[in-house]
């Protein structure tokens, strides 16, 4: 009997809760996962929109590198560069920022920006280093998003979204209008032309133009466009004039427009304008405006109408009142047989004739009927002297042959005509030309050439070249003149003076046995005092000496001085004379003579001997000094003369041989003058130096 025992309990530890057991470290991978997923999601959400742009070619576009820009800000990147399935185009797949993508509608344009040099400047320089990029342009309004675009060759002429008006221009000559050419208004660029294209049906060139706001308001039905391409050379009575608008329009062409009358109606976008070849033509086109109201009449001219063309003006008193619409020959039978009549159809505008507004054809014809009765006639006239083009003039000729305005004529009323004075005019013009022709222009030129030749011959001839030589010779002559006898007279005089002086000196020598007189006297004077009483013979000697001295005293020094003075006076006179003035160089020689004379004097010994004697003759020397005062005067005069000569010679110019000669001569003259003045000063300071030579 075993007691039943309860089954053993399978005791196990309570299982710890999964959550309680969980380590907080699990937060780390959860966080990492969350962050990673968050980043991935953000990246995916911010991923741009893929768009395809098809280009003809994609130079420099690289997948992963080339950026897409809008207004120079990067908004995307090229992801892939492939071809369209048929290989006709390059397909650039690019991712565009999400924020910008909604604005990319059908109007968006893309083009590849690369360095470009054109008439309008250099663009895209920055891409040289950074590589090309694709620029986009679109308006600022989000539209239906597009994912496929056609790439353009270059930037659009008009940024999408710009205000303005697009119009169409028609021209006959597209050679001077190129894509991107400017549109001017009064010289200011207000728009651009797009690519010109030929119309299919006609030969005209059609080109779209975009006129930017607010200038597009200037477009109206009165607007006329004309070509400003290239330059315009016109010869008129006012002279030659060359016009061109700008370098850009010179190279790339351009058109200008203006309203040529007031009150044009506004035009709608796409309006078609004609481009006229130039501004005058454009302005002339004004008449076509009201051709509808024009009254058609005809005029018959009994002469050649060559030069008259449809479109030619019809003027009345110089004012344009209409134009020629057609010229036709009309065969008419009359009594002499068939006759050809040359008829010009004229479109006359009543309001330009001055008829009240609203005047109809009947009123106009009434006016003509009355006017023809007064003498109104049609007449051919030339537009200008140089042009063969003719216009029709309506003139009033009071004494004209009576005629009537054939109002009933068919097909048009006929205005009677008057023979023009055209041939006369032509004759006059011809006469003018003939006269111009007859002008001895060639002879004139020939003569001129001859004259020039002879001038040249004269200039190059020997005799002309010899002129300076002649002048030199003249100078030589002058110098020889200086050396001639007349001049020598001056030294002669001086020589005479010297001779006189010499005579005086010899007189002195003879008169007082002057040899050693001075020393004797001096010695005698000192000794005398000592031995006066000692010697009995001495007093007598002294007496003798005194007598001698007295005699010497009484020598006629006065006369010497007077003679010297006379000499100097005469010298002065000579020098003051015309001959002397002309020939100062001779003075030099003369002075040399004087100097030698003085040297002779010095060497003669007489002077030394006379020294003591002359001491007592000092009074007389003073007189000489007085006389020499006139010497400065003389030298001043010489100076003046030299200055004059110098001025005269300076006029001959410098450095010629003549001039050199003259200068050296002058230099001599000057040194002579200086010597004279030195002499004068020396004499002034020391008058007796004239006598003693020092």
């Amino acid at each position: 009997m075993t007691e039943p025992r309860p089954a053993e309990l399978d005791i196990s530890k309570p299982k710890p809760s999964f959550w309680r057991n969980l380590s907080f470290v699990w937060l780390v991978p959860v966080l990492a996962l969350a962050i990673s997923l968050g980043l991935a999601w953000q990246n995916f959400a911010n991923r741009g929109v893929l768009v395809d742009i098809a280009f003809q070619s994609a130079p420099g576009v690289t997948a992963g590198e080339t950026t897409i820009r809008y207004r120079d800000v990067t908004i995307g990147r090229v992801e892939q560069v492939t071809f369209t399935p048929d290989l006709t185009k390059v397909l650039v797949r690019a991712r565009i920022d999400k924020d910008v993508a909604p604005f990319l509608d059908k109007e968006a344009q893309f083009w590849i920006v690369s360095p470009k040099v054109s008439t309008r400047g250099i663009s895209g320089l920055s891409t040289v280093l950074s590589g090309v990029y694709i620029e986009g342009a679109w308006d600022q309004e989000a539209g239906v998003q597009a994912y496929r675009f056609e790439g353009a060759d270059g930037p659009p002429l008009v940024q999408p979204g710009r205000e303005g008006k697009r119009i169409t221009l028609i021209t006959d000559d597209g050679s001077l209008i190129s894509e991107g050419a400017p549109v001017f208004f009064h010289g200011v660029e207000v728009g651009r032309l797009e690519k010109p294209r030929l119309t299919v049906t006609t030969d005209s060139i059609v080109v779209d133009a975009f006129i930017e706001a607010p200038h597009d308001r200037r477009l109206n039905s009165a607007t006329r466009f004309w070509d400003t391409s290239g330059f315009d050379v016109s010869l008129s009575g006012a002279g030659l004039s060359v016009n061109f608008d700008s370098m850009a329009s010179l190279l790339a062409g351009g058109v200008e427009f203006d309203s040529i009358y007031e009150g044009g109606e506004p035009v709608s976008p796409g309006h078609v304008f004609q481009v006229y070849p130039d501004q005058p033509t454009a302005r002339k086109s004004l008449v076509s405006r009201s051709n509808a109201d024009a009254v058609q009449i005809a005029a018959e001219f009994g002469e050649s109408v060559s030069g008259l063309e449809p479109g030619a003006d019809v003027r009345y008193g110089g004012l344009k009142v209409g134009e020629v619409t057609a010229i036709a020959a009309q065969v008419e039978d009359d009594e002499t047989g068939p006759r050809v009549r040359l008829m010009a159809n004229l479109a006359i505008e009543p309001d330009r004739l001055g008829l009240p507004a609203g005047a109809g054809a009947a009123d106009t014809l009434d006016f003509f009927e009355a006017a023809v009765g007064e003498g109104l006639r049609a007449r051919l006239a030339a537009t200008s002297m140089f042009s063969a083009a003719l216009i029709v003039e309506l003139v009033e000729i009071p004494d004209a042959d009576p005629a009537i305005f054939d109002r009933a004529a068919e097909p048009l009323p006929i205005l009677p005509s008057e023979k023009s004075n055209l041939p006369d005019f032509t004759a006059t013009a011809e006469g003018v030309f003939e006269r111009i022709n007859a002008l001895p222009v060639e002879e004139l030129i020939e003569q001129a050439i001859k004259m020039m030749a002879s001038i040249e011959a004269v200039t190059s001839s020997e005799s002309t070249r010899a002129v300076p030589d002649t002048v030199v010779a003249l100078l030589e002559d002058t110098r020889s003149l200086v050396n001639d006898d007349a001049m020598r007279a001056l030294p002669g005089d001086i020589r005479a003076t010297v001779a006189e002086l010499r005579a005086v000196v010899s007189e002195l020598k003879e008169g007082g046995a002057m040899t050693n007189l001075a020393s004797a006297l001096e010695r005698a004077d000192t000794i005398t005092a000592d031995i006066a009483t000692a010697s009995a013979e001495f007093p007598a000697l002294v007496e003798d000496l005194r007598a001698v001295a007295k005699k010497a005293n009484s020598l006629e020094a006065e006369e010497l001085v007077a003679a010297a003075t006379r000499v100097l006076d005469s010298a002065d006179k000579v020098i003051g004379s015309e001959a002397a003035r002309d020939l100062p160089p001779a003075l030099n020689a003369a002075l040399d003579e004087i100097r030698t004379t003085l040297t002779e004097l010095r060497e003669g010994g007489a002077v030394e001997n006379a020294n003591a004697t002359m001491a007592s003759a000092r009074d007389a020397a003073d007189a000489v000094a007085k006389a020499t005062e006139s010497l400065p005067d003389l030298s001043a005069r010489l100076e003046k003369l030299v200055a004059q000569s110098e001025a005269l010679i300076a006029a001959y110019g410098e450095r010629s041989s003549f001039n050199g000669e003259t200068l050296s001569a002058l230099r001599e003259v000057r040194s002579a003058a200086r010597a004279v003045s030195q002499l004068a000063r020396a004499i002034e300071r020391n008058p007796n130096s004239l006598l003693i030579g020092r």
């Binding site: 380590s23 470290v25 699990w26 780390v28 991978p29 990492a32 996962l33 990673s36 950074s130």
Partner: protein, 211 residues
């Protein structure tokens, strides 16, 4: 299994009634609450070790994904910016002919991290069972993983040095990408994961066999 059988039965410290201090290594009798030498808490087995290992390992693996998909280096050369992922950079190096460097980069940034993920996962899974590799082999594997972990940082160092040195404005500039940060985080997480592994658990399976 064949290998496991041949493994000699081991006497673990737990079975012997001992516990070693993980900080200083002093052995105590089981039941001691704290180390008598250094004061660290004594535990024969860390129950939450594996949890932490797995947690950090997952974090490292998550971080490793952006590290490979995003660019590691942003090289700007004359206005052109080039982005290189880790593998892309290695391939580019290979194309340039420097296969040696490419091999280093590839092994340091791809082979080692992935090998580490696998090794740690294997250790964590096999901790409590005696499978495939003998006890000593697993211990060696653990040591290798712990040692080699830091060398994965070589890539991060390269990026850090390059981006610090190569800053010549327009001519050439190198900037770190998002991948550099992710990669550094990934390496750091796996290192923490390896450190959290308690190698003592590797021997528990043999202990059971012995009884």
């Amino acid at each position: 299994m064949e290998n496991a059988r041949r493994t000699q039965a081991v006497l673990t410290a737990r079975r012997a009634g001992l516990v070693g201090c993980t900080s200083c290594g002093k052995v105590h009798a089981a039941g001691e609450p704290a180390c008598r030498r250094c004061g660290a808490t004594l535990r024969s087995r860390d129950d939450k070790s594996l949890q932490r290992v797995w947690a950090w390992l997952f974090a490292g693996m998550v971080a490793y994904i952006p590290a490979n998909t995003y660019p590691m280096l942003l090289t700007t050369n004359f206005g052109k910016t080039q982005e290189n992922t880790i593998v892309g950079g290695a391939i580019e190096l290979l194309n340039h002919g420097s296969w040696g460097v490419a091999l280093i980069v590839f092994s340091a940034s791809v082979l080692i991290p992935i090998g580490k993920f696998i090794a740690i996962a294997y250790l964590a899974l096999s901790a409590r069972s005696a499978v495939v590799i003998r006890g000593h082999g697993r211990q060696h594997l653990y040591e290798v993983v712990e040692f080699i972990g830091r060398w994965s940082m070589i890539d991060v160092f390269v990026v850090a040095i390059l981006s610090a040195l190569v800053q010549f404005d327009f001519a050439a500039t190198i900037n770190p990408g998002i991948a550099a940060v992710s990669f550094a985080l990934s390496v750091a997480f796996t290192m923490i994961s390896a450190q959290n592994f308690d190698p003592r658990t590797l021997w528990d399976a043999y202990e059971e066999d012995d009884t």
